[in-house]
Symmetry: C2
Subunit: 290 residues, 2 copies
């Protein structure tokens, strides 16, 4: 069977880019996979692990016969990488990405991209706190959601092919408006990361010598695991999704204040009822995520 795309160029062969390379190769979605990046050690590892067929540090030299370009670089650089690649990509080539924030990227690319190249924003919801080619795995997108963020400007054929690509790799594809995507992610992903960072910072402040941290139990470990996520990646996300995140942080502060006041005012029946509602909701979230 003819592959969906003859030649994909993946910029940024880390967890997401590398996993797309190997998953697409194994599924026959791509004829050839070229990985582009700056760090030669990471590119060599990607080649060694079979995530890609060939690697290069030079975007200009590998784009001319690609029929799809995937940007999986840090979110902050995605729009520039895509616009740079567009200079070398052939007519009718499709560009998509894996960035965790969409509005800023989509607006900038749609504004500056030549008409003969087609862009659709994407976000496979499949991150872990790990990064780099070493963390990439073939099964990363299986039974995960991938959100695509088409707009009124999106080419219908590009949308349909990118959707088919993710579906073939096992993703449940959902379409959302870029802004709606960013607001949703602020709540369910960016705020939890923000909270985990603030929580660990609080513990550090209360226990600078590390004396009591030895007693941390399972619950704490899970709750703060994502505070070991890549600082540069999260700086970019917090910066690019600033407005929706700030709104979520304020809602979080309100919830904290209100819980705190229930404790201060000895309203423990009321507090227990809130904990019950939360427990029920949290359990039903488990059902969403099998």
């Amino acid at each position: 069977m003819k592959p969906l795309f003859e030649h994909i160029v993946i910029a940024g062969v880390g967890l997401i880019g590398g996993s797309l390379g190997i998953a697409g190769k194994k599924a026959g979605v791509f004829g050839k996979v070229t990985g582009v990046g700056r760090k030669t050690a990471n590119l060599e590892l990607a080649l060694e692990k079979g995530l890609v067929d060939q690697v290069s540090t030079n975007l200009a030299s590998v784009c001319h016969n690609a029929d799809i370009f995937f940007a999986a670089t840090p979110s902050e650089s995605i729009s520039n990488v895509c616009l740079e690649a567009a200079k070398y990509l052939p007519d009718q080539c499709v560009i998509t990405d894996g960035g965790s924030v969409k509005k800023e990227i989509v607006v900038k690319i749609e504004k500056e991209l030549p008409n003969n190249i087609h862009f659709i924003g994407g976000h496979p919801i499949a991150g872990t706190e790990k990064s780099g080619a070493g963390a990439a795995i073939e099964t990363l997108f299986q039974n995960r959601y991938t959100i695509l963020t088409p707009t009124k400007n999106t080419d219908a054929k590009a949308k349909s092919k990118v959707k088919e690509m993710w579906q073939t790799l096992g993703s449940d594809v959902r379409l959302m408006d870029p802004e709606e995507h960013d607001q949703a992610m602020a709540v369910i992903s960016h705020l939890p990361h923000f909270a985990a960072y603030a929580l660990v910072e609080t513990i550090l402040g209360a226990d600078p010598s590390g004396e009591i941290q030895r007693f941390v139990a399972g619950g704490f470990n899970d709750t703060t695991r994502i505070a070991a996520s890549d600082p540069k990646m999260w700086r970019d996300i917090f910066s690019m999704n600033r407005k929706p995140l700030l709104k979520s942080i304020e809602q979080f502060e309100q919830s904290i204040t209100s819980f705190k006041e229930a404790i201060l005012n000895d309203e423990f029946d009321k507090l227990q009822n809130r904990l019950k509602l939360v427990k029920t909701a949290r359990k039903s979230m488990d059902d969403h995520c099998k």
Copy 2:
């Protein structure tokens, strides 16, 4: 070999009490294990799982020949359960407990306990978000810390035997002042639970229809897992450890405010440096908890 204790009465045969029963039986620490509780279905399950040798719903009838009494009921009822049991326990019997908050329990019991019965507060740091006899396992205390909170009033022999009990079950036993214990737990356990509850409540508020919760990914699941913890148990803990918890919550609020201001003021280099410090600290916490 003679068991360390001939007959233990365990009040509350849930995760902690049931696990102590089965672990102590298997290790030969207890000659006989009696489980006491209110819910007959839970007691029958405990008996069926072999967590205890016999069960009763009547504290008065089983205490007369016990040489140790362990209270693993909800924290709020521990002091009353211990003081009630003391009426029936024989001379020189040892009382200890597994409550997550210590100062309030220790102060009350030491004040009211007869002189011929010996109490030492304890806290095996081995909880999960599960509860009940069904969740009890023999290995729960292996490679875990158990904190004992002796005071100037604690009987030396009782302290030594309770310490030996936990060590035989695989725990690393540490001694702390009850107040020091409660402050430490407020930071590393109660605040993370509080934060997880507030986080899930925030998400519920932002997404009352549950529309976007379907997209929750791994990081979110881990971070909020403990928000499915038992509401009654955490109501008790928040209530009994109110003062140290409120202090921790205020420190958490300060960290959140300061992170938020860094985002508002576009100080992303500074923010990234803080994320880096947090990541490093979080990774070193992993080393504490193998």
